[in-house]
């Protein structure tokens, strides 16, 4: 177990290090100097030069990289080039929107996928199962931002049940914050749920046809009982794999959904900092997302072994 943990952790650290080099290189090749963007078209060349020096952008790239890494390792994310403000609180505030959005999106996805997948598998010979399977196909075909715009028009503009866009901070009203996340998390989760439902259906169908399930039924268990007792663990392994991938998809999807609903989350922060050439902020956000994705994969790996002890720690 210890050897497994050490090996996995080394891989995680190496992946993140490689990601940091890639991110830094790509962003610094990007044309457009931050100082000129900040000061605009009427600035004097002298003030652009002075600002470049003030931001430390005249230093060699290797030195700039080392400074950045030093900051990351000591958890000092630095100051934004554009606002001059510390990045950590800004990123923290954005996470207060994006983290609940992704979690709620995942929840919506699971609430759709598990029942829909189970029912369409168990009823796969009946009209109800086929209808559910077809519905998930349609769900997959709808891009989440289209669904978002549709929901805004129907639920917010016509029915006026929920706000069309925007976010009420948690500190001013928890109910208000949840309320402003309902439509975004439904648009985000519905599509992911539809995709996941297909995997649940396939996994459960595979289990239903397995020998051990037939044996269990032959012993006198009902299909449902047999599924719960023997089937679910086996069906869960492929589903958990996809779930890990889906989580990355949800984070990416959140960037788009935040733009549709004008939520002040990590996605909006990423878009605006790319547009402003606030390179250090972009680097920090990309590293954050990379860390979340890598850690999710690690979690999935560990979950495999919890779900199915036959998967050895060595493999």
């Amino acid at each position: 177990m210890v050897r497994f943990a050490v090996r996995r952790l080394t891989t995680v650290l190496l992946t993140l290090w490689a990601a940091s080099i890639l991110v830094f290189t790509v962003l610094n090749i990007l044309p457009g100097t931050p100082a000129q963007v900040i000061l605009g078209t009427q600035a004097t060349p002298a003030s652009v030069r002075a600002l470049t020096i003030k931001l430390g952008l005249n230093e060699p790239l290797v030195l700039q990289y080392l400074h950045w890494m030093q900051g990351l390792l000591t958890l000092h994310l630095g100051n934004s080039y554009i606002s001059g403000q510390p990045i950590a609180p800004e990123l923290g505030a954005a996470l207060e929107v994006t983290a609940p959005l992704v979690v709620l999106g995942l929840l919506v996805g699971l609430l759709i996928a598990v029942p829909a997948g189970l029912v369409s598998a168990v009823h796969h010979r009946k009209a109800s199962g086929a209808a559910l399977a077809a519905a998930t196909q349609v769900g997959i075909a709808i891009p989440n931002f289209v669904l978002g715009i549709l929901l805004i028009i129907v639920v917010a503009v016509y029915l006026k049940w929920l706000p069309a866009s925007g976010f009420t901070p948690w500190s001013s009203s928890v109910g208000g914050a949840l309320q402003s996340l309902i439509l975004p998390s439904v648009s985000l989760g519905l599509v992911e749920g539809a995709i996941l439902a297909r995997y649940v259906r396939t996994a459960v169908l595979g289990v239903l046809r397995a020998d051990y399930l037939r044996t269990a039924r032959a012993k006198g268990m009902r299909t449902g009982q047999a599924l719960v007792r023997h089937g679910i663990r086996n069906a869960a392994v492929p589903v958990v794999t996809v779930l890990g991938l889906e989580l990355s998809g949800l984070i990416i999807g959140a960037v788009v959904i935040e733009a549709v609903f004008t939520l002040p989350g990590v996605g909006s922060l990423l878009l605006s900092s790319v547009a402003n050439r606030d390179l250090i902020l972009v680097q920090d956000i990309v590293m954050l997302v990379a860390t979340v994705v890598v850690l999710t994969n690690l979690l999935v790996d560990i979950l495999y072994r919890v779900i199915d002890p036959r998967i050895g720690l060595r493999s």
């Binding site: 044309p31 457009g32 100097t33 931050p34 000129q36 963007v37 900040i38 000061l39 605009g40 078209t41 009427q42 600035a43 004097t44 003030s47 002075a50 600002l51 003030k54 554009i82 001059g84 403000q85 800004e90 505030a93 954005a94 609430l111 029942p115 189970l118 029912v119 168990v122 009823h123 805004i152 028009i153 917010a156 503009v157 006026k160 049940w161 929920l162 706000p163 069309a164 866009s165 925007g166 976010f167 009203s173 109910g175 208000g176 949840l178 309320q179 309902i182 009902r222 299909t223 449902g224 549709v260 609903f261 004008t262 002040p264 909006s268 922060l269 605006s272 547009a275 402003n276 606030d278």
Partner: protein, 522 residues
């Protein structure tokens, strides 16, 4: 059959959740206006990007000036909607006959929103800060001050390096003129302290900035409890927010095609305000065929300005004939120099040695007006044999590649600054005009002219000159399209500055007659 109860249970759970969310929606307060002591808060939906900082002396972003300039930070003199220079923190001023020495009498009894009194020393500090070493003022270039000193107990004297007929206008119109509290400089990025009718109360990154009425304000107090600016990167979301009543108004509709949503609806008013923004097809005068004046003139003849206004600006906006707008004291209507005339354009192309045209690249910034005008430019220039290829780049790249390096053939851009004819005399400016040195000399001579009439005559001469040389293809003067709920009063009828003066704004009610006379809507 046995599974059915499970499904039913799931449906029950889902139904309960749906009911819960509707309940939640009902319990929370309705979006929109909140009432504070009978005064309402105005919510402005902005199509601008979120202000990267609230310090207008550190960043050129127009979004900062919109919120902070005039509303929070004030100038000695400011620009009224009708274009006149009006006294604000100065009660009066005198100008030496040579236009070099300006003496301002500072208003008494003014306090900053933190309670500190405004003194002539604060004014000297603020104006000296513009050109101090390491200054990051975005408009430092047009602030050529030699010295600033106090004079007596209530006056400030500014001496310019060179005489200028434009300096007072620049002081009023650009955020260089903001008067700061020297003890509150360190908080400017998040809480700029000023003397204006509003003060900053909070911001949420990429989302909103909130202002509240400044109870220490020395002048007319706004008829709102505060103003919240909400930022929308997505035009659909912005329009939906106004339609669903989440916001009271849109500061500037960036997609004129959406005007039809509001134009004929009695619930809204549309204010098409004049601006200083000249949308132009910038021609690189140093690039291949564009070096030839005849080719540039052919391009100007081939451009149908009315058609472009219709496509890119919803029919609002007026054609431009040179680098000037009607609000300029030296305005000249030169739209008749190059009327739309394809035959004449073709003839000039042949005369220049390009009877069968040439290929040309049009490099666009990502703005709607440029994107909407481009297809027309492509087809109009196509009609005289110029085969245009369009490429769009993001704004930071546009700044560094097109503006800084001058590495482009043509581009479409809004030159938003007022009275910016000086660009034609700036060495190395991105359109590489061959007559730059000559223009610089003529502008300097006009600035030193002893009378206003001679100054205006000098500037008009430069306008005629750059128009005759067809330096750029000036397309139209872009309007500012404000959409507001019918009951929003006190909005500026023009947008000559980047500031968005909300002193007289109110929801319902009326505005003072003096404000109406200056051009605020009632």
């Amino acid at each position: 059959m046995r599974e059915r109860p499970t499904l039913k249970r799931w449906l029950t759970v889902l139904a309960a959740m749906a009911a819960g969310s509707v309940l939640l929606a009902a319990c929370s307060s309705a979006p929109g206006n909140t009432t504070t002591q009978s005064l309402k808060t105005l919510t402005v939906g902005s199509s601008n990007v979120f202000p990267p900082t609230l310090n207008p002396t550190a960043n050129a972003s127009q979004a900062i000036d919109e919120v902070i300039d005039y509303n929070v930070l004030q100038h000695l003199v400011e620009l009224a909607p009708d274009g006149k220079i009006v006294p604000v923190l100065a009660t009066s001023w005198t100008v030496s006959s040579a236009n070099k020495v300006f003496t301002f009498t500072i208003r008494k009894g003014v306090r900053f929103s933190n309670g500190n009194p405004l003194t002539p020393k604060d004014v000297v500090y603020s104006l000296k800060r513009v050109s101090a070493p390491g200054s990051t003022y975005p408009y430092a270039k047009i602030f050529d001050v030699a010295s600033v000193t106090t004079l007596g107990s209530d006056q400030v004297r500014v001496t310019l390096a060179d005489p200028s007929w434009e300096w007072l206008y620049n002081l009023a119109a650009y955020s260089n003129g903001v008067i700061l509290d020297p003890s509150a400089i360190s908080s400017m990025a998040t809480d700029p302290i000023g003397t204006g009718p509003f003060k900053v109360t909070g911001e949420v990154t990429n989302y909103s900035v909130s202002l509240a009425r400044n109870n220490l304000y020395w002048g007319y107090k706004p008829h709102v409890a505060g103003v919240t600016f909400r930022y929308y990167t997505n035009p659909n979301a912005l329009n939906s927010a106004l339609e669903s009543g989440q916001i009271n108004m849109i500061d500037n509709l960036s997609t004129p095609s959406d005007l039809s949503l509001f134009k004929s609806n009695p619930k809204y008013r549309v204010i098409a305000g004049l601006t200083n923004g000249k949308v132009q097809l910038t021609l690189n005068n140093a690039y291949g065929p564009l070096r030839n004046r005849l080719v540039r003139q052919a391009i100007l003849y081939a451009t149908n300005r009315q058609a472009i206004i219709k496509a890119a600006s919803g029919g609002y906006g007026i054609p431009a004939g040179s680098d000037t707008v009607p609000a300029d004291p030296y305005y000249l209507n030169l739209t008749n120099v190059y009327p739309y005339n394809v035959a004449k354009a073709k003839q000039l192309m042949a005369q220049a040695g390009y009877p069968s045209g040439f290929p040309l690249t049009l490099t666009l910034p990502p703005y709607y007006y440029a994107q909407l005008a481009a297809p027309l430019i492509v087809s109009e220039l196509g009609a005289i044999g110029i085969r245009v290829t369009v490429s769009t780049i993001d704004f930071p790249l546009w700044i560094s590649q097109v503006f800084e390096a001058g590495d482009f053939e043509t581009t479409i851009i809004d030159h938003a600054e007022g009275r910016d004819i000086g660009n034609y005399g700036t060495p190395g400016y991105y359109w590489h005009y061959a007559g730059t040195a000559q223009v610089a000399k003529e502008l300097a001579a006009a600035d030193a002219a002893p009378t206003r009439a001679q100054w205006i005559a000098g500037y008009r001469q430069v306008l005629r000159q750059i128009t005759a040389a067809a330096v750029n293809d000036w397309l139209y003067i872009i309007p500012n399209l404000t959409i507001a709920q019918k009951d929003v009063v006190g909005l500026s009828s023009t947008a000559y500055t980047e500031a968005f003066n909300l002193t007289y704004v109110g929801i319902g009610g009326s505005i003072p007659a003096s404000a109406k006379a200056l051009g605020y809507s009632s």
